[in-house]
């Protein structure tokens, strides 16, 4: 799944997005509420909050390698490493 704001996009592998435990961790980790959990525990990306991303990398630390990307749309789609 991927959602784009004006400045920031977030992409999460579909398999990872279905993982309720990862969704819980991400929801807790992100300081600006970009992640939420759906009724079934699955991950949701909150469109309205995407541009609030402070590039803190906490979501990257909370998820397995290569499952989640934070993309800077203003910087040639550079991926937050």
């Amino acid at each position: 799944m991927r959602k784009d704001g004006t400045f920031i996009a977030v992409a999460v592998e579909d398999g990872a997005a279905a993982d309720a435990e990862l969704a819980r961790k991400l929801t807790e980790a992100c300081p600006v509420d970009i992640f939420a959990q759906g009724a079934g525990g699955e991950l949701e990306i909150v469109q309205d909050n995407l541009d609030e991303c402070v590039l803190c990398r906490l979501c990257l630390d909370a998820s397995p390698p290569n499952t989640l990307s934070v993309i800077k749309l203003y910087d040639g789609d550079a991926v937050l490493a």
Partner: protein, 403 residues
């Protein structure tokens, strides 16, 4: 925050400066009792915070207590410049031989108070300064070091006052200066200060304005005067634009993006950083620009909050462009502010490169911020460009002062 005359007189009295035996009331019958106690001709004065009381019929003379009551009744119903009176002041009509002026104001440029004295009182000191400049004495003084008699004496003597009058005036002017400093005032004025037939002096009217931010330090004085915490006493009601600014600021706890004041220019301002917003506002005006507003951003407001403020400013009728400026920031992120103001332009269908005259916010996360600004073609400046120069560029871009 301005004081009513009856409150200012109380402050003057507490400082040991002679005042007339006045009384304050909200009731016409009580005005009659005060006049009876005074036992002579009286002046009934409306207690409103606006000027022009005399012209508006808010000051009347009474020879008898009955007349005082009738005048008080009329004045209590009289609206002056949109304000109903707080009450009336019943004052003995003093037989004055000469009216003087004594005042202290805060000089924001020198960052010091300045004492002002004139033997020509009862009219605006600005008028005296223009028509008879030799009759106005001025002197800055320290608001930290103790004040000496000499400093007050010098100001008074500079206007030609000598002898017994000079000696009697020195403690009055000195006490006025002291009460100004002790009470964190921005204005303390006795006008007129009357000299009576016996050579004594008495304060006949007083105007005082305390620094709003210092209210917390003077809780006892304010409580003694009956000034409630909820009384802001602003010169005018907030405009819908200003209320909308408050709304933007209150919707999100993150940072500050508000404290909006409306003006009628064409250059919208999204400015902040401590005193930076005041400096920037002044700089825009100094370069001939016409600000559409004043505001304050800081403390790292969210993108949505910055966007909300920028949208408000951009939508204000008459605003052609906005200038986004702060001094070097450490606790506000440049990229977050950049996103907020650009988003505001985009959501309103504007080209950010056209609408933002200049973006001058150097500091935390500026590299990211500058990347965003470049992508949207916004003219930005780094820390090598002063606030003053940034303001100049913004004014130049918008074509100088608006018509």
């Amino acid at each position: 925050m301005r004081f009513f005359e009856y409150e200012a007189r109380e402050v003057v009295k507490r400082a040991g400066i002679p005042v007339t035996d006045y009384g304050f009331t909200t009731d016409a019958a009580e005005a009659r009792e005060i006049a009876q106690r005074i036992d002579g001709p009286t002046v009934i004065k409306s207690q409103v915070l606006s000027g022009g009381r005399m012209k508006a019929g808010g000051v009347k003379f009474a020879d008898t207590p009955e007349e005082a009551e009738s005048h008080a009744r009329e004045i209590l119903q009289l609206e002056i410049a949109g304000h109903m009176p707080r009450g009336v002041l019943v004052d003995p009509k003093a037989e004055v031989e000469q009216e003087y002026y004594a005042g202290v104001v805060w000089d924001g440029i020198r960052k010091q108070p300045v004492m002002i004295f004139s033997p020509v009182g009862g009219i605006d000191i600005e008028q005296v300064a223009e028509e008879q400049p030799e009759k106005v004495g001025r002197r800055h003084f320290s608001n930290i070091l103790p004040l000496s008699d000499f400093e007050a004496k010098e100001v008074i003597a500079a206007t030609g006052v000598t002898g017994s009058a000079l000696n009697k005036l020195v403690p009055i002017v000195k006490r006025l200066a002291q009460l100004f400093v002790e009470n964190d005032m921005v204005l303390a004025e006795i006008n007129p200060l009357g000299r009576l037939a016996d050579g004594s002096f008495v304060a006949l009217d007083a105007h005082m304005d305390i620094e709003n931010e210092a209210r917390g330090r003077h809780k006892k004085l304010l409580a003694d005067l009956g000034v409630g915490d909820e009384e802001t006493r602003q010169a005018r009601e907030a405009t819908p634009f200003e209320l909308a600014g408050e709304e933007v600021d209150s919707q999100d706890h993150r940072g500050v993006a508000g404290n909006v004041t409306e003006f009628d220019g064409n250059l919208g301002l999204v400015i902040g950083a401590g005193g930076g917003s005041l400096t920037l506002f002044d700089a825009v005006r100094a370069h001939g620009g016409k600000p559409a507003n004043y505001c304050e951003i800081g403390g790292n407001p969210s993108v949505s909050k910055t966007c909300g403020l920028a949208k408000l400013v951009l939508q204000k009728p008459g605003v052609e462009q906005i200038a986004v400026m702060m001094s070097i920031v450490s606790n506000t992120r440049v990229d977050i502010v950049a996103r907020g103001v650009i988003k505001a332009c985009l959501e309103l269908g504007h080209d950010p490169g056209e609408k933002i005259a200049i973006f001058r916010i150097p500091g935390a996360w500026e590299e990211e911020g500058f990347k965003i600004l470049e992508k949207y073609g916004v003219d930005y400046a780094d820390r090598s460009v002063s606030l003053n120069e940034a303001a100049r560029r913004a004014v130049e871009k918008i074509g100088g002062a608006s018509a």
